[in-house]
């Protein structure tokens, strides 16, 4: 295991990606106990300032501190994305494993259902879902999570089908193990690396999706800050105070870039691992 850690520390993708994604995570955690200013404190006198010692990243049209809003907004992004991906993986992986294990009609049913959901453009459909359910963080989670389910179902099914060809599955069957025990004890550990990589990819997409929904006003509702909404607000003042758009934009771009890099690095790291194990 120490070999894996050592190789991880030598991979630039993992180092840079981990730093960027880690910064967002730290901001999230710190925002729980401390922000430079209260994120919702309005101070009209200090509106639309550029970066200064008092307000490191400036202030918005209501005089709120942008850094504080970004920190609290990171919390929203991370929580929504995390729960949405957990929902997708939690439902999708068992479905995929079941499809691979049972086969036949059940497999067809699950696979076709996944194809069906896949056929819709994710963001548009998420917009549709929140439009129906009403805007809000919970509904954003449901909308994003729903479209993560088929992704995980497919990855789990494909991985499981490959592992199930191997003789140790036949040996487990001869040992008297049932399908559920085989899926949990043998297949899941063997496709774990695959799933970890998929989780990072979906996590980055979920952050992007959350930002898009709040940009459209379908995510968390004011006054709770979120990155997407900050971007939207900044649009009106683009020419008065360009910094307003720069910082939330950078936050979204760097976080997504960081998680994607991390995912790339992990798949490079875990792939040969998987191959060597095979």
């Amino acid at each position: 295991m120490s070999g894996v850690v050592r190789r991880a520390l030598r991979s630039p993708a993992i180092l840079i990606g981990g730093t960027l994604a880690g910064a967002t995570l730290v901001a999230t955690l710190v925002s729980l106990v401390w922000t430079p200013w209260p994120a919702t404190a309005i101070d009209i006198a200090a509106k639309l300032q550029g970066p200064s010692a008092a307000h490191l990243l400036g202030t918005d049209p209501f005089g709120r501190d942008v850094l504080s809003m970004l920190m609290v907004g990171a919390r929203t992004s991370v929580v929504v994305a995390l729960v949405a991906v957990a929902l997708g993986a939690g439902v999708g992986v068992p479905l995929g494993l079941a499809a691979a294990a049972i086969g036949g009609l059940i497999d067809d049913l699950i696979s076709r259902l996944a194809d069906f959901v896949f056929a819709f453009p994710v963001l548009l459909s998420a917009v549709m879902v929140t439009a129906v359910l009403g805007p809000g963080a919970v509904n954003a989670i449901i909308a994003i999570g729903l479209f993560n389910i088929p992704v995980f179902a497919r990855v789990a099914r494909a991985g499981a089908l490959a592992i199930r060809q191997r003789d140790f599955i036949a040996a487990a069957r001869l040992a008297g193990k049932g399908e559920a025990a085989i899926a949990y004890q043998h297949i899941l550990p063997n496709i774990a690396a695959l799933l970890v990589v998929q989780v990072t990819i979906q996590f980055a997409l979920a952050i992007l999706a959350e930002a898009s929904l709040s940009y459209l006003g379908l995510g968390v509702q004011p006054p709770a800050p979120s990155w997407g909404k900050m971007l939207n607000d900044a649009q009106t003042y683009m020419f008065l105070q360009p910094w307003l758009a720069v910082f939330p934009g950078l936050a979204i771009a760097l976080t997504v870039l960081g998680i994607n890099l991390l995912g790339d690095g992990l798949s490079d790291l875990l792939d040969p691992q998987l191959r060597r194990a095979v």
Binding site: F168, A170, A171, L174, K177, H186, P189, V278
Partner: protein
């Protein structure tokens, strides 16, 4: 002796360790020379550097490898030669045939184009001219355009045909030297023999020099003029084939013949690489370097004992030389007079995957308690499907399997009575589980009890107790197969089904695992069903043999009788195809006719004998009437129209040769 065509001297190759450790030394001062038109066999177990030597010779070392020394081809130094020059030489000067016929061919190009590619490059031929030449070359390797169109794709060919295409690609530019790296390892025995004949014939006709790389001494002994034996990156013995085979000098060579060795090779120190496993090791073997010693019969040996004088043999006590000619194995036979109760009864078992082809076709036999039955046949003969139905991993289309009188497919409690050992020890152990958990998986016991049983099972297969705490990747192929056997033993089953239990292992390791299986048969009341394509394996452990062709058993009887005097034409072909440690044997013995296996298909569609399309002795009746299995005396049953009268211990009339 003429100037050598290929002369490798003091070639060392080191490979950088990607994890940042010290570079690994793959070759250590290899000397090898090949004269024009000469065939040299390069033998050794996997990982000894045979392939690396070949790759170095054509300048295809893997990235990160560094070579020092000298490789001269027709006097020209290849080591350090510019890539452009090497490209010119590859194919035209030196060509290579690879082990895996599927991966060596481009799956999305028709075979004719793949053969023509080299012709166009080396000779600047036009498309049409190259295609015509390619067709001629393909015909030469036994793939005439009328039978196998050059427009076919690799996946439309059988394994043997693919390997022929690989050979055609290598031969296309008429190279002066052909390097064949395990060209037959991935093929069936009968096909193996044809392939070796073909390579040897063509190299003789063209005056082409040949380097034949194999882990199997028998293969090399048959088709080569000289043999070089490699061990851990060092050539330890080389000389005329007859001399090396007749009186192996180096202890490792003798170990290859006897195929029994103490343990796996360890890290190599300054001295002889074989010292840790050598039964005749002396003090200076550990420290002093390895000078070549010349023996009177033109052989060279790198061994302190043999240095300068004739090989002294250690009175044959430690080594049994020349174990491989099959009859020598027959010591393992036990009389079948005391047949126990019937453990397994298979009745008209049939499995159809794609109608109308039955993978297993109305197979019936019984297996008694304590008996070891071997099922022999080429790949695709249905033997693995049969095994899977017996262990209830697959459902029969029709017919019955009765284990202890009950149906294992529907009776899950029966599963503990039958266990299986799989072919590939790398695929049959979950890489994420510790060995202790793997071996104990079939047990449903409290933790302490389970650990005790696991320890006992590991001890029984000769593995240390601390193996239980490690992961499978820490073990070699042979050790992994022992782990798999331990798992099969742990429920104390009545029947163990072993599907090609040693075919994925090195020859020396094979012998150890076979010896283990052989020893395990001694346990009272334990039956084995062994599936194999290798008669040498079967001869060592089987009491009874069933020969399968296309889903049917064509010969069944006591191993002694079936192996010593096979009656069915296919059994005889199989026996004749077993390579023997007999230099020059290739040129006299009768081999299986070169009829491709695809000829069987039409026969199986019709009502006749499955083997009729390929059978050299087939008569009209064989094509219409399926032969029934009939007893022929000596406890044997044969399904063949040509074998009908009881034949006491002899070859049936009119069918020459072929017996073991």
């Amino acid at each position: 002796m003429a100037a050598p065509l290929l002369e490798i001297s003091d070639l060392s190759v080191t490979l950088e360790d990607r994890a940042g450790g010290a570079p690994r030394r793959l070759l250590d001062g290899v000397d090898l020379s090949v004269g024009p038109g000469e065939s040299v066999g390069l033998v050794g177990s996997s990982g000894c550097g045979k392939s690396m030597t070949a790759l170095a010779a054509i300048g295809l070392l893997p990235p990160g490898a560094r070579a020092t020394g000298s490789i001269r081809f027709a006097g020209e130094q290849l080591l350090g030669a510019p890539e452009r020059r090497l490209c010119q030489l590859r194919g035209r000067g030196i060509a290579m045939v690879f082990q895996e016929p599927m991966t060596a061919l481009n799956p999305i190009q028709p075979i004719g184009r793949q053969v023509a590619e080299g012709l166009r490059r080396h000779f600047g031929l036009g498309r049409a001219a190259a295609a015509a030449r390619a067709e001629a070359v393909l015909a030469r390797v036994g793939l005439p355009a009328v039978e196998v169109s050059p427009k076919r794709y690799p996946h439309q060919l059988s394994g043997g045909q693919r390997q022929r295409v690989g050979l055609a690609i290598a031969l296309a530019a008429r190279p002066a030297l052909l390097i064949a790296d395990e060209p037959t390892t991935a093929l069936d025995v009968t096909i193996q023999a044809q392939m070796l004949d073909l390579i040897a014939d063509i190299s003789a006709d063209d005056g082409m020099a040949l380097v034949l790389i194999s882990h199997d001494l028998r293969v090399v002994a048959e088709s080569c003029d000289r043999i070089a034996v490699m061990y851990a990156g060092v050539v330890v013995e080389q000389g005329p084939a007859a001399a090396v085979v007749g009186a192996p000098g180096h202890p490792y060579t003798r170990a290859l013949f006897g195929a029994r060795l103490a343990s796996a090779p360890e890290a190599r120190g300054a001295g002889c690489p074989f010292a840790p496993r050598c039964p005749e090791v002396m003090a200076r073997c550990w420290t002093a370097g390895l000078p070549w010693g010349v023996v009177a019969d033109g052989r060279e040996i790198r061994c302190h004992q043999k240095n300068g004088d004739r090989p002294r043999f250690s009175s044959g006590k430690t080594w049994s030389v020349a174990v491989f000619p099959v009859p020598v194995f027959l010591g393992g036979q036990r009389p079948l007079t005391s047949r126990g109760e019937t453990l397994l009864a298979v009745d008209s078992l049939t499995r159809v995957y794609r109608p109308p082809h039955a993978a297993v076709d109305t197979v019936s036999f019984t297996l008694s308690r304590g008996e070891t039955l071997a099922i022999v046949g080429e790949s695709g003969s249905g033997k693995s499907t049969l095994a899977r139905m017996i262990v209830a991993l697959d459902r029969p289309t029709s017919g019955r399997v009765r284990l202890l009188g009950r149906d294992p497919y529907h009776d899950r409690r029966l599963r503990r009575h039958v266990q299986m050992v799989f072919q590939d020890p790398y695929g049959s152990l979950d890489p994420r589980w510790r060995v202790g958990r793997i071996v104990g998986e079939p047990l449903d016991l409290p933790k302490a009890e389970r650990a005790a049983r696991v320890a006992a099972a590991l001890a029984e297969v000769g593995l240390p107790a601390d193996a239980a705490d490690r992961y499978p990747h820490a073990f070699s192929g042979g050790q992994r197969q022992r782990i798999a056997i331990a798992r099969a033993l742990i429920t104390r089953p009545d029947l163990i089904v072993a599907d090609e239990p040693v075919s994925a292992l090195d020859l020396t390791v094979q012998a150890q695992v076979l010896a283990l299986l052989s020893a395990l048969r001694a346990t009272a009341g334990r039956s084995f069903l062994v599936i194999s394509h290798d008669l040498a394996v079967v001869a060592q452990i089987a009491d009874t043999v069933a020969v399968m062709v296309h889903g049917r058993i064509v010969e069944y009887g006591p191993a002694q009788a079936v192996l010593a005097a096979p009656l069915h034409p296919y059994s005889r072909a199989l026996a004749a195809a077993v390579p023997r440690l007999d230099p020059g044997a290739r040129r006299c013995g009768r081999r299986v006719t070169a009829t491709p296996r695809s000829a069987d298909r039409t026969a199986s569609d019709a009502a006749g004998c499955r083997y009729a399309g390929r059978c050299p002795d087939a008569v009209a009746r064989c094509r219409f009437e399926p032969p029934a299995r009939r007893p022929v005396g000596d406890g044997r049953e044969v399904a063949c129209h040509l074998v009908d009268a009881p034949v006491p211990g002899g070859s049936p009339g009119g069918s020459p040769g072929g017996s073991l």
